[in-house]
Symmetry: C2
Subunit: 350 residues, 2 copies
């Protein structure tokens, strides 16, 4: 770990050290709201082709950095590359989201191919190596994966779903197979993240987008416990690499999540009160968040004053500015510019 | 208020007094999972015809009480009768949910007809009067309305929506009209709930189903503040009538909600940890909840042990057993019977 004056601002904040201003990046900062992204997306063909072609994935990862000079770039990929690597092919239909052949039985879990996850995902690691070469030296590189519970919901439902009902019934009802599916996802995710770090990722984030759908008993078992196992295994191989968790919708359970998983940083969704996070989470780890992405569509003073409020409220503890969820396609790029300027100016620290 | 041995168990618990066992009811206990409901629904024609025909609405309200003898019956109606009464007609298309002509401008808000809300909803009050006659004397009668924020999302989006984006942008961006819409909904809801109590409702519940979609600043302004105004006005007219709030998805903000709105009871969604609610909410008011409705689909030991865990954890403070959200149509009625038997047996108090 670097400890001199050139250490990246993002990594300093993630380590809980003092920084000159809040570092920032935005979830889904590479995406459809940018014309240059849409151009590459069209050129690439399918969405997975974009993820699996290092030339394209590097380019779209760099696009927002060129425009807004965030303090961190996040690998362009998708959380469903893991099921894809397990032999459960993922198709992306225009305007419909991902479609998978559902895995709903113990036998279907046994049929998953666990032997070639890292091999299948080789292009992702090449993307990371390319990004380390091309990124400005003060910009950190974030790798990521979906957390097991969230990835399992897509695998079981066969895509997105409003309430993840089938997955919840399988998990909470205790029918055989779901434990094994989670075990497969823990092992695959550990291998995937370790290889991402080997390829140059300086931190990794675990997205548990649907953790809020579980009651507490299930949250402990299917969100906290698998995440703890992943954090432990990744840190055993890479003790210096910080891990960020994002248990979206965890409410007051964010505290248990941070205490029990051992993450170094926690990303909070927009429903979390910044004052509550300052009091209850910042004493435990670095907090990342949490502007509502709709403010980036609104823009203007409403956006800037809400961002300022978050910067002020979380400014006394370790904080990485971010959104509470991904940038939406309707976002005008000039609003992203205005927000980024506010943070670059570091007004919260003055 | 009664204070003798015949006082209804549900109302005693809601007042924070000791009861022999936890009272219970289930959100959406009248509904499609019951064959006898589907029969009446078919006979009624449209969904609003069911709500607005006292004979039918009384019948479907009583159906689950006959089967399971809950401690409370909830008026059969819909939160969208208020926009309907304001002259924004609501259509229910089979399998698609409600459809409304969207209200998205200050002018459209001005066009709402606020003069006949209580008149338009006369059949609902007749239903309540009929229910007071027909309900067993130990079963309490609950009235309800949607909270202004949640009703506004349907009015603005023109129906259900995954992220309430247009409503959030209007509310958070500060364009004119949204404040007025909320004011209209506060006034209409106060009039509606007061008339429900006049017609026999012994408590009223405010459903803020989509409050979890708002960041804290918006939550304070669009969920807590309108709810506080409604609670104040209802209690001014009916100081003895308890009010229950349900800010679904409020996470740690449940505490602020209870403290600032003045509700007598709070319904918690399934993502809330019962132990956290016991420590943080039961000292403030009665807690209602919070079995995940998917457990009622699962049934068996998994359902019963989760229910037992909730009963034990919340059993030392004022508690009304309920679900964290409504019963889903796939629920086998015999699972509801088994759960109800567990609670009738009162094992948590033994």
């Amino acid at each position: 770990m670097q400890a001199n004056g050139t250490e990246k601002r993002f990594l300093k904040a993630l380590a809980g050290r003092k920084v000159d201003r809040a570092p920032f990046w935005y979830m889904r900062q590479a995406g459809r709201y940018l014309a240059e992204y849409r151009a590459v997306r069209e050129q690439a063909g399918g969405f997975l082709d974009l993820c699996y072609t290092p030339e394209f994935a590097i380019e779209v990862t760099l696009q927002p950095i060129r425009r807004y000079r965030m303090d961190a770039a996040i690998l362009f990929a998708d959380i469903l590359v893991v099921p894809d690597a397990l032999g459960q092919p993922v198709a992306y239909k225009e305007g419909e989201g991902p479609v998978l052949e559902p895995v709903r039985t113990a036998d279907a879990v046994k049929d998953l191919n666990t032997s070639n996850v890292v091999g299948h995902l080789a292009p992702v690691f090449e993307t990371l190596r390319g990004l380390r070469r091309e990124l400005p030296e003060d910009v950190a590189l974030i790798g990521f994966a979906g957390a097991p519970w969230t990835v399992a919901t897509y695998m079981v439902e066969g895509g997105g779903s409003p309430d993840h009902a089938l997955t919840k019934r399988w998990a909470l009802g205790g029918e055989p197979g779901f434990d094994t599916l989670i075990d497969v996802l823990v092992d695959s995710t550990v291998a995937y993240l370790k290889a991402q770090i080997d390829a140059g990722a300086e931190t990794v984030q675990l997205f548990d987008t649907w953790s809020g759908a579980l009651p507490e008993s299930g949250f402990d078992r299917w969100c906290i416990e698998p995440t703890r196992r992943i954090v432990d295994a990744v840190k055993q191989a890479h003790p210096e690499t910080p891990v960020i968790g994002f248990p979206r919708g965890a409410g007051a359970k964010y505290v248990d999540y941070v205490k029990q998983t051992g993450v170094d940083g926690v990303s909070i969704d927009s429903s979390v009160s910044p004052a509550w996070a300052a009091a209850n989470l910042q004493p435990l780890c670095t907090v990342q968040g949490n502007l509502d992405p709709q403010f980036l569509v609104i823009g203007g003073d409403a956006m800037l004053s809400e961002a300022q409020r978050i910067l002020s409220t979380l400014g006394n503890g370790p904080h990485i500015f971010n959104l509470g969820h991904g940038i939406v396609p309707q976002t005008p790029p000039e609003h992203v510019a205005a927000l980024s300027e506010l943070i670059h100016a570091g007004t919260a620290d003055d």
